[in-house]
């Protein structure tokens, strides 16, 4: 771990904010896709019945 000195808070907070936001965006996008895909498959199934 590099010695960040007086910049430790700024640097670590920047990495934390970025990684949390990116992970959240990717996670939410994947979850939204799974939900929409499941609903579409159900509607397509209902249409065939």
């Amino acid at each position: 771990m590099p010695d960040l000195g007086i910049y430790a808070f700024a640097v670590l907070a920047s990495y934390a904010v970025t990684l949390v936001l990116l992970a959240g965006l990717i996670g939410l996008s994947l979850r939204q896709w799974r939900v929409v895909k499941a609903v579409l498959e159900k509607v397509e199934q209902d249409g065939q019945d």
Partner: protein
């Protein structure tokens, strides 16, 4: 073969489905390598000390905040001119990604500013134009949600996107044309003499590519989701009409 073939939602979905996991894998892989390289294996900068490590997050996110809007502008113009639904949905899909990039750029910029300028925020031309760009992203997303008819929503958001492009371009060039601000000149330039030194430049370019690939992956994934949502609504409407006839 023409690029307009991908305006067909089925063709678009079939094409991007195998690409999306690869794009996420490559983007995340490059990001891990770029950030580890930048964080652990680059020295402190003469004036900014160790705070220079924020560059690997701030510059790529700011670059994409602006270019996401440019991509939305292109997609919106395609919608306005050629009425391809996939392009309108791609613009809608890119907006949350661009907004998150703008938030990252503003947050890391504020943290970097506090560390080096001694203030979280100044009404500097570039910072202010970025804040306005963020508000345009919010307004753009709110407009999509506020209008129930998807074609009307696509028309109005396309107009908003064209107007907002002024601020996207302003964000890009503010640091060049208004030299009185605290914000430094662009860190990357086509003129090699203006770039940051090689030791920072190499991991920075890697992070830029990583953010770019992740942006593509997210936009493809979200566009596919929007297409599926639209198809679900169309099928449900068709089923309701069939039930009424019976």
């Amino acid at each position: 073969m023409s690029i307009w073939e991908y305006a067909n939602p089925k063709k678009f979905t079939a094409t991007v489905t195998p690409i999306i996991p690869w794009a996420f894998g490559i983007g995340l892989g490059l990001l891990v390598v770029g950030l580890i390289w930048g964080f652990f294996f680059t020295p402190a900068e003469n004036r900014q000390g160790e705070s220079v490590k924020i560059i690997y997050l701030h510059v790529p996110s700011a670059f994409l905040a602006i270019n996401a809007w440019v991509m939305m502008l292109v997609a919106s113009l395609i919608w306005v001119i050629r009425r391809h639904h996939v392009s309108a949905l791609a613009a809608k899909a890119a907006a949350p990604v661009g907004m998150v990039m703008t938030v990252i750029a503003l947050a890391t910029g504020a943290l970097w500013g506090q560390a080096t300028w001694g203030t979280w925020w100044v009404w500097d031309p570039r910072l202010t134009s970025f804040l306005i760009l963020f508000l345009f992203y919010l307004g753009y997303l709110a407009l999509w949600e506020a209008i129930p008819d998807p074609d009307t929503a696509a028309d109005l958001t396309a107009i908003m996107c064209i107007v907002g492009s002024v601020f996207a371009f302003l964000s890009r060039y503010a640091a060049i044309y208004w030299a009185q601000g605290l914000h430094q000149d662009a860190s990357l330039s086509l003129d090699a003499e203006e770039n940051v030194s090689d030791v920072f430049w190499q991991p920075l370019v890697l992070c830029l590519v990583a953010f770019g690939v992740l942006f593509v992956a997210l936009v493809l994934l979200r566009t596919r989701t929007e297409i599926a949502k639209r198809r679900t609504l169309a099928l449900q409407a068709r089923q309701r009409r069939a039930e009424v006839r019976v």
